[in-house]
């Protein structure tokens, strides 16, 4: 049980090593037909959530870091849009005898690493499922902690995000968020809207079904106002009203990653996932580091996407 008085949003995880150790050998499980990626534990490896990460200073645009591009990945075949369900913070913390809050802080570090890697490798859109509409049912201290964490993250990392030319979009039902977080989110979106290196879409208080319903209601309003006839309602009409379509240039994820081994979508995106390749990693989210990300991207690059046709496009 998390005592509210003890919850502080500090980006601190106990027993931190000084840097991430990236294993010299390649741990990726090439050739496995299963889409559940197995995390290759390396005794020397530090999980993403246990190391302090900062955004790169003076990092170049994608393509400038050829030396850092992972072996075996083809740059031209990388997904343009990666979506992530960041699952497993609580279980990660529990397995270490830590409070859930520590898991969320460690999860945030893993997110920062993923943003850094996505920028470096030229991924154009990264959508992350930070807080679902179902998560409001979690214990109040945990929810309050998360809201505080989100606000502090936006406040403290804004300068780094701007420097890295990252554009932030927040999707979800913002009316349920604390007023201060709503205000912060709007400001961050406005300040970063001209950035173009990476679109970071954060799903907060989000439900895929609710997004479809709100699109439906906008269309219904157009019908009511005589702007649109019911028989002219097409899939394109619906897609245009979804939150993701107005947020980013590539609204449909090419790859969805879900960590901690759970095999479901949990009301994330839904419409947008029609043709998305699904990848389920056994790692808990704070343990999802560079190796795991490379493994997911490798698995993606092996797949043949046919979109209903016979041959891969």
């Amino acid at each position: 049980m998390l005592a509210t008085s003890k919850l502080r949003c500090q980006l601190f995880v106990p027993n931190l090593p000084k840097s991430i150790k990236r294993p010299a050998t390649n741990h990726c499980a090439a050739g496995s037909p299963s889409f559940i990626g197995k995390s290759k534990a390396c005794s020397a490896r530090v999980s993403a959530g246990e190391a302090p990460i900062t955004f790169p200073r003076g990092g170049g645009k994608d393509g400038d870091d050829e030396g850092d591009f992972p072996f075996g990945l083809r740059r031209e075949a990388l997904p343009k849009h990666v979506a992530v369900i960041m699952d497993g913070n609580g279980r990660w913390a529990a397995s270490r005898g830590l409070p859930t809050a520590s898991g969320h802080v460690a999860g945030y570090k893993a997110l920062k690493l993923m943003v850094e890697l996505s920028c470096r490798w030229g991924i154009r859109v990264l959508t992350v499922f930070a807080f679902s509409s179902e998560n409001w049912l979690r214990p109040k201290p945990e929810v309050d902690f998360l809201m505080t964490l989100f606000e502090n993250v936006l406040k403290e990392d804004l300068r780094d995000l701007l420097r890295e030319d990252i554009r932030i979009c927040i999707i979800g039902d913002s009316s349920k968020l604390p007023k201060t977080l709503q205000k912060m989110s709007t400001e961050v979106e406005e300040i970063s809207h001209r950035n173009s290196r990476l679109d970071l879409v954060v799903a907060l208080s989000y439900s895929g079904r609710t997004d479809i319903v709100q699109a439906c209601q906008k269309i219904a309003q157009k019908v009511k106002n005589g702007i649109l006839h019911p028989e002219d309602i097409t899939e394109t009409c619906v897609a245009q009203e979804l939150e993701t379509s107005s947020a980013v240039g590539y609204p449909y994820p090419d790859l969805l990653i879900r960590t901690s081994g759970e095999l479901r979508l949990s009301n994330f995106l839904l419409w947008e996932l029609a043709y998305t390749e699904l990848y389920f990693s056994q790692s808990h989210w704070p343990d999802f580091g560079e190796d795991e990300y490379v493994e997911a991207l490798r698995a993606f690059q092996k797949r043949q996407r046919r979109f209903g046709l016979r041959t891969a496009l």
């Binding site: 037909p33 179902e134 079904r209 219904a220 899939e235 619906v238 029609a274 797949r303 016979r310």
Partner: protein, 275 residues
């Protein structure tokens, strides 16, 4: 001799299903039957769809024996119309042939009292197939056994857009009726303020009388939904066994249910939190 062997297999299967039933049995399983063509190429037969249909009948039998009440299959996507015309035509011909077979007296439909649904934009089908589909739905509409829903000329995004259209039409009609009955503009406005809700939307989905799938299985190891039941899959357990669809057999189905049962406590915990 073969009858004795058949009876032994049947008895073994019943024992196996009794053991499985100790755990929760999913109410609804949906299948993306992928891999027919690859199977045909590997085994050097002309078409894998016929073998795929035989596999489907076996799987249906096992599902209904285990106690699964709803089975949904992805038979033909709207996207598949983009394939070569001759392939589309042969698939349509096969579909008509098999639907007609299912309505025969000795078929699995009559044995289990299956009610058949066909979900999709049926206007895209040719007349012969559409007539068979309509006949199948009509002839089985009073059946009270398990339900087989066949997604044909279907995509989920098309289903949702169709549901939105129907919801809007319904609300528009309601407004007109209210005006015609002399209700003031203000009253009409108040009653139609929230034009469409989630309840309206779900009512107009093809799946309105089916629960959401507990498990969605895509064979051949492919790892995407391909525009299948996107709305309904929100909390489904997703599985992608490696065998091609014609190879999907009893042991794969048993394994699928065992995997579901392993995840079940977590699934239940989540759904309780949502209530």
């Amino acid at each position: 001799m073969s009858t004795i062997f058949g009876n032994l297999c049947c008895m073994f299967r019943r024992c196996l299903f009794s053991v499985l039933s100790i755990g929760p049995i999913p109410d609804h399983i949906a299948f993306i039957m992928d891999g027919n063509r690859r199977y045909a190429k590997r085994t050097q037969i002309s078409t894998g769809h016929r073998v795929g249909f035989s596999a489907l009948i076996s799987v249906l039998r096992y599902c209904y024996e285990i106690g699964v009440k709803y089975v949904t299959i992805y038979a033909f996507s709207i996207d598949n119309f983009k394939r070569k015309p001759e392939e589309v035509q042969s698939t349509m011909d096969l579909m008509k042939e098999k639907i007609d077979e299912l309505l025969e007296e000795h078929s699995i439909v009559n044995k289990y009292g299956i009610r058949m649904n066909f979900w999709g934009n049926l206007n895209l089908l040719n007349d012969a197939v559409r007539l068979s589909v309509e006949k199948a739905m009509r002839n089985t509409s009073n059946n009270t056994g398990p339900v087989l829903s066949v997604c044909v000329a279907y995509t989920s995004t098309n289903e949702i857009a169709h549901a939105i259209e129907k919801s809007c039409c319904q609300k528009t009609e309601m407004m007109k009726r209210m005006h015609a009955n002399g209700f003031e503009n203000g009253v009409v406005e108040k009653n139609t303020q929230t034009m469409v809700t989630v309840v309206d939307l779900e009512m107009h989905l093809f799946s309105n009388d089916c629960p959401d799938p507990d498990i969605i299985i895509r064979t051949s190891g492919e790892t995407r939904l391909s525009n299948f039941l996107l709305w309904q899959s929100s909390f489904s357990h997703l599985q992608n066994p490696t065998p091609l669809w014609p190879e999907f057999s009893l042991r794969h189905l048993v394994w699928a249910i065992l995997s579901y049962q392993r995840a079940y406590p977590y699934l239940q915990n989540r759904s309780k939190k949502m209530l």
